[in-house]
């Protein structure tokens, strides 16, 4: 087996010197940009179109959501540490940081569940008004992305105990990391467009 072949899969590397899966992931993220782009534009187009209360200013709690956003951003940092650990072959460190990422992601999800319940009690539902429809579908879709990421990372975590995650296979972690960072970045855009914008215009 030639030395360029990183993994035990002989079909992994391509003529550009990049692994196939990395190209796949980048292209998928481009696609996902359009996906979130459409949702965010829907939200922005419908801003101020709601015919009923509650409106954002009635219910948003910026300090709370800022906290959960901060937690999500921190998780990106842990993701970097996890990747660098596995690239150096430090398996235990990798496990620790990965668990950390998944944990922080879960905290973010917990905040979201709390926020959603709180909003529903305050009368904001999917069908109450346009704000409800656009808000829940946008942030809910993002939440699903985070949940998938948490599942993915936990799978890697468990997989590492049966020898599935190694220094040689650090690409698996790198790909998951690309996804995770993307989901974080999207949240920054959503947080700005949905929450912060209320306090600017």
């Amino acid at each position: 087996m030639s030395s360029e072949v990183l993994l035990d899969n002989p079909h992994e590397m391509g003529c550009t010197g990049m692994p196939h899966r990395k190209i796949l992931m980048w292209t998928f993220l481009a696609s996902d940009c359009m996906f979130f782009g459409s949702l965010i534009s829907t939200y922005l187009v419908y801003r101020g179109h709601s015919t009923d209360h509650p409106l954002p200013e009635d219910i948003f709690d910026i300090p709370l959501t800022s906290t959960s956003s901060f937690v999500l951003l921190l998780s990106s940092w842990l993701m970097v540490l996890a990747l660098s650990a596995i690239q150096k072959g430090k398996l235990w460190e990798f496990r620790l940081w990965t668990l950390g990422v998944a944990f922080f992601g879960s905290i973010f999800l917990g905040f979201q569940v709390y926020e959603f319940t709180h909003f529903i009690h305050a009368g904001l539902t999917l069908k109450q008004n346009l704000f409800g429809s656009t808000f829940f579908v946008l942030t809910g879709t993002h939440g699903c992305h985070v949940a998938i990421g948490v599942l993915w990372l936990m799978s890697l975590f468990f997989y590492s105990f049966i020898g599935g995650v190694t220094k040689e296979r650090s690409l698996d972690v790198e790909i998951a990391g690309l996804y995770w960072h993307f989901v974080d970045i999207v949240w920054i855009v959503i947080f700005t467009a949905v929450y912060l914008l209320e306090y600017i215009i």
Partner: protein, 702 residues
């Protein structure tokens, strides 16, 4: 040669990721791009028959005035399913069939980058197409045209599952397309043979590349639009509900931001095919290769800037109309560049009028006609006269049949010998061409006049007084002429030539690209040795150095420097082939079952809202849900309210519908879990597969 399976741990032997099995299981678990290509193409051709029958049904109704073969409702279902079928189940997958079969061969690869993902795409496509067509069995085929505009498509105005089938069906098909496109983009970037630089790629591969980028960037937009409409229908959200401030026009924007790139998704692959066919049969290199490639990219890019030309009549205002009229007219420039280059290729060529060439020439002429009518309504002022008339129907059939379908048929006649090892019959091919050409122009040219005379699209009948009788009759005659061509192609393809066609040999057309350097049909590993590419049209230059006067510089054989020749996988075990896998089909079956469930949960919250008072009364009386459903069943059967007078007949019907929705949700969850499980097992499957080992090599002595 013989085959050596890779040794794997026991469990996976059972799952069968070893040697590709023979027979039916072989097809169900296949990950071979050639087999998947055939599956795509055959499925698409079958749907082509279905869509064609729908078209004939439409034309029969319109043949004469005041005809009532079907009700308006059935007619709506017919034309909606005709359009949806032809676009999503015929032209796109037929092109995908060629991507699958030809792209790896043309770039000198042994497969696509992700063989199992490729199989997944096919199964998703198949199940999606079955899902959307299953609506016929429920007498609930989608009925509001392939653009599904709200408010008509909201639950308030269409309460059947018609739109639910459409929404979820398209969603499943969208996943299939995006997955396939991610795969092909990676394949084309990353699996080119040594020396196959981007600017040596055959034009068909380039157009595949651009098309797949369009899919990846345009489909997510319609995914969101479909999801929002689905939420409106099932969960009573307000995205497109004008009563709550929603904007139906926003649907139009989202839909056409996808919809216009979509029409280029349909036409760019056939443009690529035609760019392959013309040089072969004109025996000249393609005129202006970089321009043809560049204009393809320009079209792809500009395709995202013109969407609102579908909305000129919606009252966007003069500024928007003017802006989109401008961008739309500009996009005709790169389109024109391509046509000039094709004509330039023919110029002074030694033209051989074989069947693929006939279809390619038909393509050029008819596509140009479609472009001209497109330019006419690119002018917003014109379009206010032409919008939603038969003029538009004429336009898009010129580009879609005259263009896309003629191009794809050129591809069928051109590549059939490679795929089956046998030639299609020239005589029947010529006959099919002329029937199709005459039939097509007879059907669709008169529609220009009908449209300008005011005949609207999507009407199920018309009266004598309107003066459209003769032309409509002519159109119908043309449609049946086209049907003859289709029968000729199908009988020839699936019967005569497949059995008794002339043997093709490696290179029956004296062609230019790599797929013609290997046997027909190609062996499972495609290339015994991965080819080394030294120039554009390498194969042809090698065969005909004398014909290549002005390409000498390129032929000067500077083998793709820095092009990672070292990455070609030569290992001493022989050629490694991935084994078959069940997981792609299991995963997509799961998602399709999930989709089925979602269809049947359509309208859930609206239905619940409609019977809210009955539900409240039942809660008050302490009746649990199961008892309520039983009571409702009795009420519906006896057509009399129950003893406690909680359920009227209508609210009892509502309860049963709601119960059906809940069952739908359960099915959706089961399907989703199955799908995710499939994906997990798929990820865990080891590489497996087998080695193809050459006997004659002296490996034994090693």
């Amino acid at each position: 040669m013989h085959i050596e399976p890779v040794k794997e741990k026991g469990f996976y032997d059972f799952l069968g990721r070893q040697v590709e099995p023979k027979g039916l299981i072989g097809w169900l678990t296949t990950v071979d791009h050639k087999r998947i290509g055939i599956l795509y193409a055959v499925t698409a051709l079958l749907w082509f028959l279905v869509g064609g029958i729908e078209a004939l049904a439409i034309r029969s109704q319109l043949a004469v005035a005041n005809q009532r073969l079907y009700s308006a409702e059935t007619y709506n279902q017919l034309f909606t399913m005709h359009g949806t079928t032809m676009i999503f189940l015929v032209v796109m997958p037929l092109a995908a069939g060629f991507f699958n079969y030809m792209v790896p061969l043309m770039i000198g690869a042994r497969d696509v980058a992700f063989p199992r993902l490729n199989a997944f795409s096919y199964w998703m496509f198949l199940f999606g197409s079955l899902l959307i067509n299953a609506s016929w069995l429920f007498n609930a085929a989608p009925n509001g045209s392939w653009v599904g505009y709200p408010p008509l498509s909201l639950f308030q105005y269409s309460q059947g599952h018609n739109y639910d089938f459409w929404l979820i069906g398209l969603q499943v098909l969208g996943v299939a397309s995006v997955a396939a496109s991610l795969n092909f983009i990676t394949t084309i970037i990353n699996m080119r043979a040594p020396g196959m630089t981007m600017m040596r790629l055959p034009v068909f591969v380039w157009m595949t590349f651009v098309t797949n980028f369009l899919v990846v960037l345009a489909f997510p937009v319609v995914t969101i639009a479909l999801a929002e409409l689905m939420f409106d229908r099932t969960y009573a959200t307000n995205f497109f509900n004008p009563m709550k401030g929603g904007l139906p026009i926003w649907w139009q924007h989202l839909f056409w931001v996808f919809g216009h790139p979509e029409v280029y998704i349909l036409i760019l692959p056939p443009m690529g095919i035609v760019s392959e066919v013309l040089p072969v049969f004109a025996r000249r290199p393609l005129f202006g290769y970089p321009l043809v490639v560049g204009s393809g990219m320009a079209i792809g890019f500009m395709g995202f800037t013109v969407w609102a030309h579908h909305m000129f009549a919606s009252g966007m205002g003069n500024i928007a109309n003017a802006a989109f009229a401008l961008t739309t007219m500009t996009i005709a420039v790169p389109t024109g560049v391509k046509i000039i280059n094709w004509v330039g290729t023919l110029w002074k060529g030694q033209i051989r009028m074989r069947t693929p060439m006939l279809f390619a020439l038909g393509f050029i002429y008819q596509f140009m006609m479609g472009g001209f009518s497109g330019l006419m309504h690119a002018n917003a002022a014109h379009d206010s006269q032409q919008h939603d008339t038969y003029f538009i129907v004429a336009h898009f059939h010129y580009v879609l049949i005259g263009g896309a379908l003629f191009g794809l048929w050129a591809g069928i006649y051109y590549w059939f010998p490679k795929i089956t090892g046998r030639m299609l019959n020239e005589g029947r091919g010529h006959a099919a061409f002329w029937f199709l050409f005459i039939g097509f122009n007879t059907t669709f040219f008169p529609m220009h006049w009908l449209g300008l005379n005011g005949m609207p699209r999507r009407i199920y009948s018309y009266s004598h007084a309107q003066g459209w009788d003769e032309l409509n009759f002519l159109c119908t005659c043309g449609a049946f002429t086209m049907a003859v061509a289709v029968l000729l192609l199908f009988t020839d393809m699936f019967w005569f030539s497949l059995r008794n066609g002339e043997k093709a040999g490696n290179d029956p057309w004296d062609a230019r690209t790599l797929e013609w350097t290997i046997p027909s049909p190609p062996p499972v590993y495609n290339f015994e040795e991965i080819p080394q590419v030294k120039a554009l049209d390498d194969f042809w230059i090698t065969k005909h150095p004398e014909l290549m006067h002005h390409h000498d510089d390129e032929a000067s054989h500077e083998a793709g420097a820095g092009h990672g020749a070292g990455h070609v996988h030569h290992d001493d075990h022989g050629i490694h082939m991935p084994g078959g896998s069940w997981m792609p089909m299991v995963a997509s079956l799961g998602f399709a079952i999930g989709g089925w469930g979602l269809v049947h949960s359509g309208g859930m919250y609206h239905i619940k809202e409609g019977i809210q008072s009955a539900l409240d009364a039942a809660t008050k009386a302490g009746i649990n849900w199961d008892t309520l459903v039983n009571t409702a069943q009795t009420v519906v059967n006896t057509k009399a309210p129950d003893a406690q007078n909680i359920l009227s007949v209508t609210s009892a019907e509502g309860v049963l519908k709601l119960q059906a929705c809940y069952n739908g949700v359960k099915t959706a969850i089961v399907g989703g879990v199955l799908g995710v499980l499939g994906v997990f097992l798929w990820a865990l499957e080891p590489i497996g597969g087998y080695y193809i080992v050459k006997e004659k090599e002296d490996r034994i002595s090693e």
